[in-house]
């Protein structure tokens, strides 16, 4: 080992020179709150644009009236929005070394648990106003799910993965929730329909594709 020390130091000097030689000005990542806002705004702008392209789904298809007389619906919308904001925030924090703490996970987890409880409670309730489900809802949600998935992928790729699974899970949750929220307003025959047929496929897609890529091709 004593024999190795000088050569290790030489190697380290070479590495330092090489890294310093490769240095180019770097664009610092903007603060998390701005990135969360950017993610939200990009969805609000891009998804109606996509809906316009995909003529089957229109803004007039939104059942805004559910907000007036369905308490479970209102609670679920609030919880979905809360979960969306908290998962994105913690996901973006999880790629910043020195900023992320495991205890932060409790915030989105609490929101997710409350959301699941509200869906389960809704399942057993007879008060739900059932809407006809759209015949092509699976195709629609897949189409809408691509935008948040790619934006989330681009945002997380720039960071340092402190805990790969945590970042991927939160990212998948965040990118699957916005299209699910739209389908919650436009397609619902059953309290669990939106989560089983819209949220879960999108979530699995958004989690497994980057996971497989990182495992086998990275």
């Amino acid at each position: 080992m004593i024999m190795n020390e000088p050569s290790n130091n030489e190697n380290m000097n070479d590495l330092i020179s090489q890294l310093a030689g490769d240095l180019k000005p770097v664009k610092k990542l903007p603060p998390v709150k701005w990135r969360v806002l950017w993610f939200g705004l990009s969805q609000i702008i891009l998804i109606p644009f996509l809906m316009k392209l995909y003529s089957a789904l229109q803004l007039s298809d939104f059942h805004w009236d559910s907000l007036q007389h369905d308490l479970f619906f209102i609670i679920q919308v609030i919880l979905m929005l809360t979960t969306l904001v908290t998962t994105i925030t913690v996901c973006l924090l999880s790629i910043l070394p020195g900023r992320y703490k495991e205890k932060y996970l409790w915030i989105p987890m609490t929101s997710v648990i409350l959301l699941m409880i509200s869906v389960a409670a809704n399942y057993f309730s007879t008060a739900q106003v059932h809407m006809e489900h759209r015949s092509l809802c699976m195709a629609e949600v897949s189409f809408l799910g691509l935008i948040p998935f790619f934006i989330m992928l681009k945002m997380t790729k720039k960071g340092f993965f402190i805990s790969e699974n945590t970042t991927l899970l939160l990212g998948a949750f965040a990118s699957a929730l916005f299209p699910t929220l739209i389908m919650h307003f436009t397609c619902s025959t059953h309290p669990t329909h939106v989560f089983v047929y819209h949220f879960i496929p999108l979530f699995l897609f958004a989690f497994l594709i980057p996971k497989i890529y990182l495992k086998f091709f990275h």
Partner: protein
């Protein structure tokens, strides 16, 4: 420590703007910090240098993630911890794969040697004495699980279970700081 933090911060800000000299100075200053962190947590002396290199490269790739509004040491520490955890995962997987093979053991494993090794690594703090011995025998002295089990007077399966639990405890211990 605070002055050092301020100096590193200043150098980092200039490095992010593309100043190569500041970056060279920054890397030279953090090298001993990283070295001491890695040496306390990596068993094999030959691997220490490789892990330090991986940490340095990770720092280079993550320059954009540092925000000068926050202290720099937690940023460095997290990157360092992450690469050490990756190393531990990699080596524990490697040793699981090679458990069936015979090792050419040239190190002498004596009780006194083990005691001195145990004191060297703070990473072993969360483990009990028996588990520490099992880890030192297999990871520092390179004994096969069969040989270490014979030395400890336990069955090989029991040793494997003990090692598996030890790595989980070590990983939890490392993650505690993150």
């Amino acid at each position: 420590m605070k002055d050092n933090d301020e100096k590193l911060k200043e150098l980092m800000i200039r490095s992010q703007q593309g100043d190569q000299n500041s970056y060279r100075e920054f890397l030279a200053l953090i090298y001993p910090i990283i070295q001491s962190k890695v040496k306390r947590k990596v068993f094999c002396d030959n691997d220490v240098h490789d892990v330090i290199q991986e940490v340095m490269v990770s720092i280079h790739q993550s320059l954009a993630t540092y925000d000068s509004a926050y202290p720099i040491h937690p940023w460095l520490h997290t990157i360092c911890q992450r690469r050490v955890i990756d190393y531990i995962r990699k080596t524990s997987k490697f040793s699981e794969l090679h458990d069936g093979q015979e090792f050419d053991v040239t190190n002498h494993v004596g009780a006194a040697n083990i005691e001195s090794e145990v004191e060297k690594y703070e990473l072993l703090d969360p483990l009990n004495e028996e588990t520490k011995r099992a880890v030192i025998m297999t990871k520092v002295y390179g004994l096969s699980t069969a040989e270490a089990a014979t030395e400890l007077g336990i069955k090989e399966n029991a040793l494997r279970t003990r090692l598996s639990r030890a790595f989980k405890d070590i990983e939890k211990f490392l993650k505690k700081d993150i």
